[in-house]
Symmetry: C3
Subunit: 320 residues, 3 copies
Amino acid sequence: MTVHKNLQINKEGRLKHFLSTEGLSRELLTEILDNAENFAGVGERAVKKVPLLRGKTIANLFFEPSTRTRTTFELAAKRLSADVLNINIESSATKKGESLLDTLQTLEAMHCDMFVVRHANSGAAHFIASLVSSGVRIVNAGDGRHAHPTQAMLDAFTVRRHKGSFSGLKIAIVGDIMHSRVARSEIHAFNTLGVKELRVIAPKTLIPAYMSALGVKVFHNIDAGLKDVDAVIMLRLQNERMQGALLPSADEFFKMYGLTEKRLENAHPDVMVLHPGPINRGVEIDSDVADGARSVILEQVSYGIAIRMAVMSMCMGGSE
Amino acid sequence: MTVHKNLQINKEGRLKHFLSTEGLSRELLTEILDNAENFAGVGERAVKKVPLLRGKTIANLFFEPSTRTRTTFELAAKRLSADVLNINIESSATKKGESLLDTLQTLEAMHCDMFVVRHANSGAAHFIASLVSSGVRIVNAGDGRHAHPTQAMLDAFTVRRHKGSFSGLKIAIVGDIMHSRVARSEIHAFNTLGVKELRVIAPKTLIPAYMSALGVKVFHNIDAGLKDVDAVIMLRLQNERMQGALLPSADEFFKMYGLTEKRLENAHPDVMVLHPGPINRGVEIDSDVADGARSVILEQVSYGIAIRMAVMSMCMGGSE
Amino acid sequence: MTVHKNLQINKEGRLKHFLSTEGLSRELLTEILDNAENFAGVGERAVKKVPLLRGKTIANLFFEPSTRTRTTFELAAKRLSADVLNINIESSATKKGESLLDTLQTLEAMHCDMFVVRHANSGAAHFIASLVSSGVRIVNAGDGRHAHPTQAMLDAFTVRRHKGSFSGLKIAIVGDIMHSRVARSEIHAFNTLGVKELRVIAPKTLIPAYMSALGVKVFHNIDAGLKDVDAVIMLRLQNERMQGALLPSADEFFKMYGLTEKRLENAHPDVMVLHPGPINRGVEIDSDVADGARSVILEQVSYGIAIRMAVMSMCMGGSE
């Protein structure tokens, strides 16, 4: 944890890389949310652009493809007036046998200011942050099962916008906690931001052992777990998982853990429903809920750009 | 037709989406041509840029690949100073089982201002225009066999530049009328703009039944059809068609319908030759004609960018 | 050679296309290096942008994929404030049977100002330069085994930065000279710039017959070849070559020609080590050397952008 903290924060205590919500203080997470408030209005303006990162070069290094996430980072960078390079790693020099370090150093030598990194291996963004020289900033866009910190922060932002503060809230995360980098980052973020009670709801096979050590309440029954919650965050069920022994079938999962209007009656009357998208209608969430009045799923997408603008500009301003 | 009109036009009668040349008034089509006149000069300037759409986000949604058409829309958007997102739909979330509506709503939530849509299904652009919220504009870049309205308007623009007006003109469209979205859009555009006589020339198997209802003269013999025409628009012969029963072979087609200098002698001495490109030399058009003095094929490409700039800026200015 | 000169130079003797280092005068090559000095600082600035090519359209036409080279040209163009189109030639209209000439004329008609061309065939950039109209500029980003002139100029720039001038220098190029467009362009550049002695070091099977005609000293023994050199340029060994009869194996090659610290003891004490990248560690170069104090490999990458900015702006300013 100290290692993470050192990598993410510079000597003045300001954000340098954004790799994980773990190891960052409540003050810093709150500063990210406050900055995102300023950027949330940019998307509504006639001219959706601010000149903060004009003349900076930001490279999207996606070792794992993701059109949706790459697009939000590209838009965030362009609205900050940065130049964006989309680098398809699979077709790049690494194929010719070049090492990752050589690829990174080559991009650094081109005076790229920031790498947005998506990788199938847990720890990849931290590893890259430990390799690059002091002038380059790393933002983690998802690494293996480890972390997806901008997703967690946009969820926190969406919750704060509706509820005002975190201190009185009960929040439940539902689904495949075991394999979810989103869940891990959310747990660290909401714990640090001081929610009253954080719950996870999933079958036993999909909950990792260390949950209770994080102060999270574990539920295997969704009706019990949703009781009085102010926000419920549904995770996307990965189809791959359902073919293994961990889960019987999509139908079965929906029957036991799918979010329906009926089940939401158990929650607080003003409960919010979040989902990182893309949603599997009828698998983890019913269409009535996804499209209903409690759903803030599309707001999450909008706020995701504001959060990314905030994180990118903070990392760039945090140069020593 | 009322449905199309409603979708394309806002309450003040201004262009909102550009989906089809069908259902738009002569005044509106003329306004597009007049605006394109202003943009035609931008490509010749030292600085090929105007700040009209600065800070706007335009997403190219190409469900059907087309480098040429996408490039012209991308250039038009960039010369209007907009930010452009190229979204490869096949590699995007729709693959993960996300519905089209969810994909569109996600892009809307990112505050995209305009979608340029290309799709293999007829009606796709209208369908998408009916789904999006009031802040988003749709431009049809070709949908199935239905419409390709910017191609039709750039053809009309090219004709007007050379001939001054439409009222005295005889224009012939030659080739696979049946399967051509270009031909459909041209017929509606030239009819509305008031050409004196519109002709289609093709084998019986490639002419749809409704032609005469549109006031179009049908010819199966190219020499008769070209008699005295002021402009001839060649369609690209799709190779797929020639493998079916509709046509014998490329050689055979060229012999019967290919445009040669010899055949052009039948036409008006100042006849113009148009083609949407890419051309099949020696299939629908002889190289002598394609590269000859009567060909305006490359002018069409240039004007295509002016037309797209006009349509994009009109749709964006037409917000309610 | 006269043909090349005519194509590259306009009537006033200024650079028009940049196709090859062959046939350009020492004055012109020196002007490129001097201009690159001005641009070398841009990458270090807070705002890495100059407005020289604002409103110009530059199309990257890569018929042969190369993420690394395309990225440096894209960055150079963006830092000159140009609009950049990346055109994937394999998925473009050429697949539909369109001829190369038609593709080029279509891009010209879109008012593209410059094509950056990469092609597997020797002579492709010259051929394209001979086809385009007078308003379009061509920069060769590598054609077959023929030329890679921006790579040669960035090597010359790196050498001049460290050594001040060329007149007293001994420079050796090591590796597969036979198949290397980089080596060919370097030999012409360094000869024209007036190095004291230019050497090539390779097995007999990898040295073309015409070497001695170019005034280059040929060595088959690396220790003899490196004696007293001021700079050594390692070439990347293409894996394809090693499967043929020309070379026994990567291990064998490293044993006979791989650059090690031990071997460098033979060279001048201030010897510089260059490599165009991506490097094959342990094949043509030892990691100790690649990462050592004499290596300027990453500087080459930085200077590559400055050279490309210089060449692009000179070609654009050289319009008649």
